[in-house]
């Protein structure tokens, strides 16, 4: 029984890969708080063994599973930049901005039919788009355009290189 709960805790901490609060663990596992704390102590001790590359550390009344610091060098070597594709939502918004720039958020939302706030933040953070001015209408909305980084990534020398689309 204790083994099962410990195993479940391990699985939860692993899956989340982030701090999980004590109250949340108590609720998910349906065990008394004192017992949980007891189990956690045991579990932390087990991870402390040599031969284990992971550790569980208490953080802000919660617990976090992470790698032991001894292995930071080897891990640094193995950090392959995570390859990611843009989400479809981001890709569609980026395509719209590329072809219709400069363009405001409201215009993008009208065309896509969905909110684009989060996608825009994401594209800004990745340096694919930037604010290029404001539109001279009521509210002075920000205009967005693609960046130099966008051209570089897509192997374009200028926006004129974007393939013409049949109307």
């Amino acid at each position: 029984m204790r083994d099962e709960i410990k195993a479940a805790i391990e699985a939860i901490l692993f899956m989340r890969g982030d701090r999980v609060g004590v109250e949340e663990l108590v609720e998910i596992l349906d065990v008394p708080l004192l017992e949980l704390r007891d189990l956690m102590r045991e579990l932390i001790g087990e991870y402390f063994q040599p031969g284990r590359g992971l550790q569980i550390i208490p953080v802000d009344d919660g617990y976090l599973m992470c790698t032991k610091s001894e292995y930071s060098e080897i891990l640094a070597r193995s950090v392959r930049p995570v390859k990611r594709r843009l989400s479809q939502a981001a890709l569609e918004t980026l395509a719209l901005i590329a072809y219709q720039q400069p363009v405001t958020r409201a215009e993008l939302e009208r065309t896509r039919g969905v909110k684009v706030d989060r996608v825009i933040t994401n594209l800004l953070e990745r340096g694919l788009i930037e604010e290029v001015g404001v539109k001279e209408v009521v509210g002075k909305p920000i205009l967005y355009g693609t960046t130099q980084e966008f051209l570089r990534m897509y192997g374009l020398t200028s926006l004129r290189d974007l393939p013409q689309l049949e109307e």
Binding site: G17, P81, Y154, P163
Partner: protein
């Protein structure tokens, strides 16, 4: 007693049909078409108010069923015994569709059970956005263009707006621009390269006309060594 079932609860006409077959404990391979058609129509009638857009698909199926029913009722002319043996059951297509649909409906339930953990499964570690974790974006131009086309295709067809073009583009100006551009480039350039100086279609059109005019006036010479190769432009 028939109980009312909201048509919206069915994910399409095949779903409703499957429901009726199961409810009446019918054999999918030997569907009594007349019976099922009546049941089906009855369901459509009892739904009362409905969303026409969603209803369309149900009505298409109704038409199909009625057609099937009438085909089965009509006596076949000059039938020989062999013909009957060989004849394809008109219901076959429907049966196939129903079986296909049922298969994927089951697969969908399986997926859902994986999502809720009712089916035993593994969980991956949730990718957290660790700071300092470098990201490399996988991009390719063709997916960008496809994405744009997808957005455009989804757009409702807009009323064509009459737009009066702003500013005039003069062919004469473009002729001057070409000569200046050539001069800046040691008297030579390529067709593709030349067109990088314009940014709108109207300008491109004017530029093209200007180029033709210059060639006619023998101020510019255009050559192409291999078909499809970029055309080379040179000052005479």
């Amino acid at each position: 007693m028939t109980y009312l079932v909201d048509i919206e609860a069915f994910h399409g006409p095949l779903d409703l049909l499957l429901f009726l077959i199961e409810k009446n404990e019918l054999d999918v391979y030997d569907i009594p078409i007349a019976f099922i058609t009546d049941q089906y129509l009855q369901y459509l009638e009892t739904t009362g108010e409905f969303d026409l857009e969603n209803m369309g698909e149900f009505l298409v199926m109704a038409t199909y069923l009625l057609n099937l029913k009438s085909r089965l009722l009509l006596p076949q002319s000059n039938n020989t015994t062999e013909d009957i043996e060989d004849a394809i059951d008109p219901r076959e297509e429907l049966v196939q569709k129903l079986l296909d649909y049922k298969r994927y409906k089951t697969a969908a339930i399986e997926l859902q059970q994986r999502e809720t953990g009712l089916t035993e499964r593994i969980f991956y570690r949730e990718v957290s956005s660790e700071p300092g974790r470098e990201e490399e974006l996988i991009v390719d131009l063709s997916s960008l263009i496809r994405a744009y086309r997808t957005v455009m295709r989804r757009l409702p067809v807009a009323e064509p707006e009459a737009v009066i073009p702003e500013g005039d583009v003069s062919v004469n100006d473009k002729m001057d621009q070409i000569m200046v551009f050539l001069a800046d480039n040691d008297g030579k350039t390529s067709f593709k390269h030349l067109f990088t100086i314009v940014s709108t279609r109207r300008e491109a059109l004017a530029l093209f006309l200007a180029l033709l005019e210059l060639i006619r006036l023998q101020k510019v010479r255009a050559t192409q060594n291999i078909p499809w190769e970029d055309i080379q432009l040179e000052m005479w």
